[in-house]
């Protein structure tokens, strides 16, 4: 019992208690375009005012529907690595453009300007950016940049004090390679070039918690470019492999209907610590 575990305390304190009490449902997020059946997934990171960076992601993916915190999969670990470069290990908070996972390629763009979706998102951004210690916002991809700019118009004085790093989404390389037929190596290099372009400015606008390492990314992911998700970001008792880079949740099913209904959770091989069966 020498191990002392950390965990996310969740949403008991205001304004978060109120925010998680009246989240929009499928009247605002149409269930044809969003996987509302898996419930909203709100955030990851510090809600106690200690965040220095806000990361704005897009929408929760498969792993997040189980862990109930956003950006815990590979995309999240890439972002975690970027934050580590600017000396931020836990002093961040992350929210998404959408509370629910987008269903279908086009749905994400289709609702980029929905007023009711924005209203609720703005309440979170107000809570996290107005009168807080956050000095920089990292927007992951175009939808996040658009969402941030919509909010910035509602709070121009606050936004004027914040640095925006509107970078490519951490899984841009995979998505663009699939869509364009270009080699993944090429799209990965483009992603990392983009991140390198923003690294210095981001570092200049964040007070680091720990050592920084502004060595640019190479043309492909290096062994230390991904950083693990800290234990303190997940709810109490969450298995350690929920924070691993090894994938552990997949949508499975022989047809579209079953696949939408199913998430298969599989303990990664490296975490199968039990005696041989």
């Amino acid at each position: 019992m020498a191990v002392v575990h950390q965990s996310c305390v969740g949403y008991g304190a205001e304004p978060f208690a109120s925010l998680v009490a009246d989240y929009p449902g499928d009247d605002v997020y149409p269930s044809g375009d969003f996987r509302t059946e898996w419930g909203p997934i709100f955030h990851r990171g510090r809600l106690d005012g200690s965040a220095r960076v806000l990361v704005l992601g897009q929408d929760p993916a498969t792993h997040e529907a189980i862990s109930r915190r956003i950006l815990v999969g590979e995309a999240g670990q890439r972002v975690q690595g970027l934050l580590a470069k600017v000396g931020v290990d836990t002093a961040y908070v992350m929210v998404n453009v959408y509370l629910y996972s987008v269903f279908g390629q086009a749905a994400g763009s289709r609702h980029a300007k929905d007023a009711h979706i924005a209203d609720y998102r703005h309440r979170w951004l107000d809570a996290l950016l107005v009168g807080t210690g956050v000095t920089a916002v990292v927007a992951l991809g175009d939808l996040a940049a658009t969402a941030y700019r919509m909010w910035a118009k509602t709070q121009p004085d606050v936004a004027a004090t914040l640095h925006l790093a509107a970078i490519r989404h951490p899984t841009y390389a995979e998505g663009f390679a699939r869509a364009s037929g270009k080699p993944l190596a090429e799209t990965t290099a483009a992603l990392l070039t983009n991140w390198n372009e923003h690294l210095g400015d981001l570092a200049a606008h964040v007070t680091p918690e720990g050592p920084t390492d502004l060595t640019p990314y190479a043309a492909s992911w290096g062994p230390t470019d991904l950083a693990p998700i800290p234990e303190i970001d997940l709810p109490a008792g969450a298995p350690a492999w929920w924070r691993d880079v090894d994938a552990w949740a997949t949508r499975t099913g022989a047809d579209t209907q079953t696949k939408r209904a199913t998430i298969s959770v599989v303990v990664p091989k490296g975490a199968r610590t039990w005696p041989a069966l």
Copy 2:
């Protein structure tokens, strides 16, 4: 956005913050006998002092590994129905004998008296029973009754003020029918007879929150004998079907190794609210 959701605030307040920080791992719970790889699952219900009944269950099952709260499956809904009969809708708290799911039939009994497992469990029972408003303990099955009596010896003065309803486990009927070859109808009738024997005494030792209904159970489960899990018992954003009586989590896999590693989460048919695919 007219819907106001309730949710469990979790473990931010003491003594629970400390309890979830230093839970025992597989040095105390051997991974041959417990599914430690899914993490500990601590409780369900009120941690704010408003509980009037403590339910002591056995170990978390499949659904609980995902919802991260105990007794949410069919067993939990049967208990919820029992509590409703004595007028308790949300004023309860539930913990298990074991933090981790038992692996294999015999493992549960084998560790019934383990000192280190009991030490940690006693800290929870102290937190929930010493100087609180709980007046009755419902122990589900023999392991729970044994665990309660072990604790009672450490706190005899407090235990003397508490009513113990040591009832059969809510899934006793299914387990005993499988093990003995007796018809399920017969073992179900035996379970419900046992619960009926304890109903009056339990009601006499609990101040109800709402109306009571001490009509005895019939020989089989009636339509109102199971009660849904209240929304306030699950973490913020949890899908409503996580509280349904329809099963939604199963261990799948062609061999024992894969089956131990896998939980398949499937939205029940009644909760597939999306447009036809």
